[in-house]
């Protein structure tokens, strides 16, 4: 039976985690799942911040067009 932590790791990865990881304890799998989740959150935050900052550098004349492409 798949453990809850292995299932969670699979969800974070968007698919099944490598089968050999089933040998890990719940606690160990949680360390991995938490690390992947943190990475995704940070990526999302970085992405939002970077886009806002980037738009600030785009000449006013083109900003609308760029925004339209980015957030279409």
């Amino acid at each position: 039976m798949t453990s809850a932590a292995l299932q969670r790791l699979g969800q974070e990865l968007g698919g099944n985690a490598p089968a050999a990881l089933a040998a890990l304890s719940e606690q160990e799998l949680t360390v991995l799942a938490d690390a992947v989740a943190r990475l995704k959150t940070r990526q999302q935050q970085d992405l939002g911040k970077a886009l806002e900052a980037a738009l600030g550098h785009v000449p006013a004349l083109l900003r609308g067009a760029v925004r339209k492409i980015l957030f279409a």
Binding site: A20, Q43, H57
Partner: protein, 471 residues
């Protein structure tokens, strides 16, 4: 499972997840391929989950000149996002943009980049710029990132980067972390003998023997032999340093297969080093043979030891269970290594020899016939007699009967061996099974012996029911 490959994969996964290798110690029990699969799955997920946005950023970049994009990339977008967008930009535009970015920023981007996803871009970057970024990564000691790029850069570029990297320890670590082992073999093959020697010295000077051994185990068999021989050809200090590192990190499972790839003179030098000839090392070697089924590597190695060394191995082996003896027997049979096995058995205690003689007796006819054929061919009767004496009589007779079909001169050789080691049972069995012309030679042989020896042999012949055989 390789401890070194596992450790390298833990380090690579740690770098991606923002964890230390020590935080991932629990992955020691997972095979390295599964750890690599987890890393690739994570990296792939990070590239794919915002793919649409990365594509839109790349599309919008077409509205702006590269001079402005470079400013935006450095001040706002940042290395992480650049690394993810780069693969979605037209290659020529991405190469031009890279040429406008400062080296430290490009190095930061490389850390985030999966070069396999941006191959055309990586291959299009001018060599001079690659060399500058490589220098920066070496300065930061980020060899994991450099190892990833070894897999994706053209060989000619790698050659120039390596020539431009005078630090031998850095070169060793870059190669250690490289992932495409086939490509790595080509790359190492570029290096001169002199440079490879310096890399070995760097392993010693910077305590990097585990990494050097890891590297040796990755490369092609031909290159492995070349590197292993080169290591074995170094001075005693260096070679001893390698052995001490193997012992300290308990990485015989990685080291022993490499020793097996050495030429015979190199193996002989290695196995007889004082640092190898201690209980800790020999126990580690036997354990690695057991873990990995490396008995065909171990038996010839033991045979390259001097007698004192073989006696040490015998003492360690005989303290273990019968499985190890069974493995020696099966390996000796499968690889025609009987002489090596008998040389080892010779150094065991009499009670252990008795146990192994019984174990040997229980093998089927083909195994026993293989044994006698090998002993007969190499005239190794003195070694066999010691074990053979402890076998059941019917097995002794079976061995002799087969030996006589292979070698008509077996009697004289058996008698010579019996005289040498003072063990006559097998010789008497053979004599009893011989024809009259052979038995007629017995008085002459007996004349050569002392009265005491003659008395002992007569007594033994009487107890075996061969009274008529000995006058």
């Amino acid at each position: 499972m390789s401890e070194l490959a596992n450790r390298a994969e833990r380090q690579k996964l740690g770098q991606l997840l923002g964890l230390k290798e020590t935080d991932l110690h629990f992955l020691e029990k997972i095979d390295e391929r599964s750890i690599a699969a987890l890393r690739e799955q994570t990296s792939g997920m990070l590239f794919d989950r915002n793919r649409g946005m990365f594509q839109r950023i790349a599309a919008s970049s077409k509205l702006l000149p590269n001079s402005l994009l470079a400013v935006i990339a450095e001040r706002a977008i940042g290395p992480w996002l650049c690394a993810h967008v780069a693969g979605h930009m037209p290659t020529a535009a991405a190469i031009d943009l890279a040429s406008r970015l400062p080296v430290p920023f490009l190095a930061d981007t490389c850390v985030q980049l999966d070069p396999r996803r941006v191959q055309p871009l990586i291959r299009g970057i001018p060599v001079s710029q690659v060399k500058s970024v490589a220098k920066e990564l070496v300065r930061r000691r980020d060899y994991i990132t450099m190892g990833r790029f070894v897999d994706s850069l053209p060989e000619s570029t790698i050659r120039q980067v390596l020539d431009d990297t005078p630090q031998d320890d850095a070169l060793l670590l870059i190669a250690y972390y490289a992932e495409n082992k086939e490509h790595l073999s080509h790359v190492i093959g570029f290096l001169s003998e002199e440079r490879l020697m310096r890399v070995m010295q760097a392993a010693q000077d910077h305590s990097l023997w585990p990494e050097a051994l890891g590297l040796m185990s990755y490369v092609s068999p031909a290159l492995r032999t070349r590197l292993a021989d080169m290591a074995a050809g170094q001075n005693d200090t260096l070679l001893t340093g390698m052995v001490e590192a193997i012992k300290q990190h308990n990485i015989w499972n990685d080291a022993l297969p490499i020793v097996g790839f050495m030429s015979e003179p190199s193996r002989k030098r290695f196995i007889n080093l004082p640092a190898v000839q201690d209980d800790a090392a020999l126990t580690g070697i036997i354990a690695a043979s057991r873990d990995l089924g490396l008995w065909p590597t171990l038996l010839p190695l033991i045979d390259l030891m001097d007698d004192a060394g073989r006696a040490r191995v015998a003492r360690i082996a005989e303290a273990q269970d019968d499985v190890i003896i069974h493995e020696f027997i099966q390996t000796a049979h499968a690889h025609d290594l009987w002489v090596a096995a008998l040389n080892l058995f010779h150094h065991m205690q009499p009670e252990r020899q008795a146990a192994l003689a019984l174990l040997l007796s229980r093998n089927d006819k083909t195994v026993l016939e293989g044994l006698i054929a090998s002993v007969s061919r190499d005239n190794h009767w003195t070694r066999l007699i010691v074990i053979g004496e402890r076998m059941p009589l019917d097995v002794q007779q079976q061995l002799i009967a087969h030996g006589m079909t292979l070698d008509p001169g077996i009697i004289s050789r058996l008698i010579e061996a019996a005289e040498e080691v003072g063990a006559w049972d097998m010789a008497l069995q053979a004599l009893a099974a011989s024809d009259a012309s052979v038995r007629a030679q017995v008085p002459e042989v007996m004349q050569r012996l002392s009265a005491e020896q003659r008395g002992m042999i007569k007594h033994r012949a009487d107890s075996l029911g061969f009274s008529a055989l000995i006058p």
